[in-house]
């Protein structure tokens, strides 16, 4: 076989592989949306679930997902930001820094179920927080910290060193330069990273089943006193999220319409991730434009 024929066959094969992969991925997306979107309704998105009857909704789970997401981001963002600043702006290039970077990499490669088990052991059992929003938020924080730290560090890297010199030459400290000059300039890219990581956190379940728990007690959406047990803001109540819900109803199978609910919930998750993605791209670009335009 001469090399030209070989070339043709190989390129053809690559077309085939790529086509097949696109087909698989589109079929996947298509299946989720086609089977899920018809389930979606205002009732589905807002009503509480029903254990043994048809027609329940995912209102509480959806709310829990967002509440946990916000709490987890509120805890993890400042820590990740501080760590990224230290790593990129202060840390010297020596073995201590390398070790710390390795530790962060290890955390990012830990299976999320291990992170969840640690959360269970430490927060739920040792600190007696029980299955609660708070335990879940901490577990999600651990899950989120390494990737968010890396993404913020990458954002800092995109800002040229001449900006840092500019700040230092005005008699600003490195800290002031970072917080007043570098961070504002890096906001578009940091924001993109934060939203993308929010998507990951939103869909995470393995870290939550033994921390935030697998039950969604009824909430009273008129009671916003965080100390009341039925208040949506109460951080000490167990809180099943949408992702955990999908797992739970499929493993237990006591819900007659488990499949329909799962389809609908999957679609909600995927649409949310889609929105996070678009929002990240759009906001990042838009902010960058605003920063640089006349």
């Amino acid at each position: 076989m001469n090399s030209k024929t070989q070339n043709k066959i190989a390129i053809g094969g690559l077309y085939g592989i790529a086509g097949l992969v696109v087909l698989i991925l589109l079929a996947l997306l298509g299946y989720i949306l086609v089977s899920g979107v018809p389930q979606l309704s205002w009732h589905f998105l807002t009503a509480p679930g029903k254990a043994f009857l048809k027609g329940g909704g995912v209102g509480i789970q959806l709310y829990n997902s967002f509440y946990l997401l916000i709490l987890a981001m509120l805890i993890s963002f400042p820590i990740a930001l501080g760590a990224a600043i230290y790593l990129y702006e202060y840390a010297k290039d020596n073995w201590v820094t390398t070790t710390i970077r390795t530790a962060i990499e290890i955390l990012s490669s830990l299976p999320s179920v291990v992170v969840g088990l640690f959360g269970f052991l430490f927060f739920v059992v040792k600190l007696h927080l029980g299955f609660s929003i708070l335990s879940g938020a901490f577990a999600l924080t651990f899950f989120n910290l390494p990737l968010l730290t890396r993404s913020i560090e990458d954002s800092l890297r995109t800002i040229s060193d001449v900006q840092r010199e500019g700040g230092l030459a005005l008699g600003l400290s490195r800290w002031e330069t970072v917080t007043r000059v570098i961070l504002p300039a890096a906001v578009p890219s940091i924001l993109t990273g934060v939203i993308l990581s929010a998507g990951r956190v939103f869909g995470e379940a393995a870290a939550l089943i033994y921390t935030a728990g697998q039950s969604a007690p009824a909430l009273d959406f008129t009671d916003w006193n965080p100390f009341n047990i039925s208040s949506p803001l109460n951080p000490m109540r167990p809180a099943e999220t949408l992702a955990v819900h999908i797992w739970k109803i499929n493993s237990e199978g006591i819900m007659p319409d488990a499949k329909a609910i799962s389809s609908g919930s999957s679609a909600v998750l995927v649409i949310a991730i889609l929105l996070f993605n678009f929002a990240a791209r759009y906001l990042g670009k838009r902010l960058y434009k605003r920063l640089t335009s006349a």
């Binding site: 992969v21 991925l25 997306l29 501080g82 760590a83 052991l121 600003l172 800290w175 869909g203 955990v244």
Partner: protein, 309 residues
Amino acid sequence: MKTTEQLEAKLKRRSKAAKLEIWGRLISLTALMLIVAVVVAIIGFVASKGIATFTSNHVSLWDFLSGKSWNPGVNGANGKPEVGALPMIVGSFLITILSAIVATPFAIGTAVFMNEISPNKGAKILQPVTELLVGIPSVVYGFIGLSVVVPTTRAIFGGSGFGILSGTCVLFVMILPTVTSMSADALRAVPRYYREASLALGATQWQTIYKVVLRAATPGLMTAVVFGMARAFGEALAVQMVIGNAALMPNSLVSPSATLTSVLTTGIGNTVMGSLQNNALWSLALVLLFMSLVFNLIIRLIGRKGRLQ
């Protein structure tokens, strides 16, 4: 000279900037140390719980790693508790290796297509789609596995449909976007002049891809595959939903089996803290942790070797 002294005093007084600098350094270092503390705590806690099976319950490590029967509540024929983790270890490795074997050609082929053959379509369609799919939650993969893959397997091979094969299918689709997008990054890092030089020597496009580009990108591609394997090995819920959760040595690809993660997710809520049943589960978690460190190490070694070349 009075003025010189005044100036010197002024220049030596610690300014607000200097105070802020110390403060800022301290805050950011604290944040970093917090993360390090989390890593140390996770490893420490899981390890200390995980070795309890061997230290306080006196199970031998060898029995744990090679025993084929998992039934921690019951004492076996030799009068010792049955905590043979081999079925789960085999299950985890099988499913990881199989899904990597299936995913690698697809992922690398697609990455090559995206980068070398049709960069336009690659950038417009494939890249956004793969990036988006990287972010799809694993429970969604599990649910689709349950509602599509398992029934299909059942229809073709009979039985329940749960098992290694279904798990492999789910993990294949799940790691495909990750491995594809990391492979594409690896190919993108190959300098353009490598290709130009090869084409200028009269090599065909395929020869250039096969002999030059893929070879130059090998460390990066290997990293992508190992990364995908690490993800497959550690994935819990998607696998747990389709594997059947029977802690038995897998005797076929379509019989219900178990992985480390699936036994952990189903078991940990049903055992009492401190009991042997519970400790044995933590030992499984320790194996999981250990393997994740091993994957990490492999990635590092590949990276180092890549740099040396």
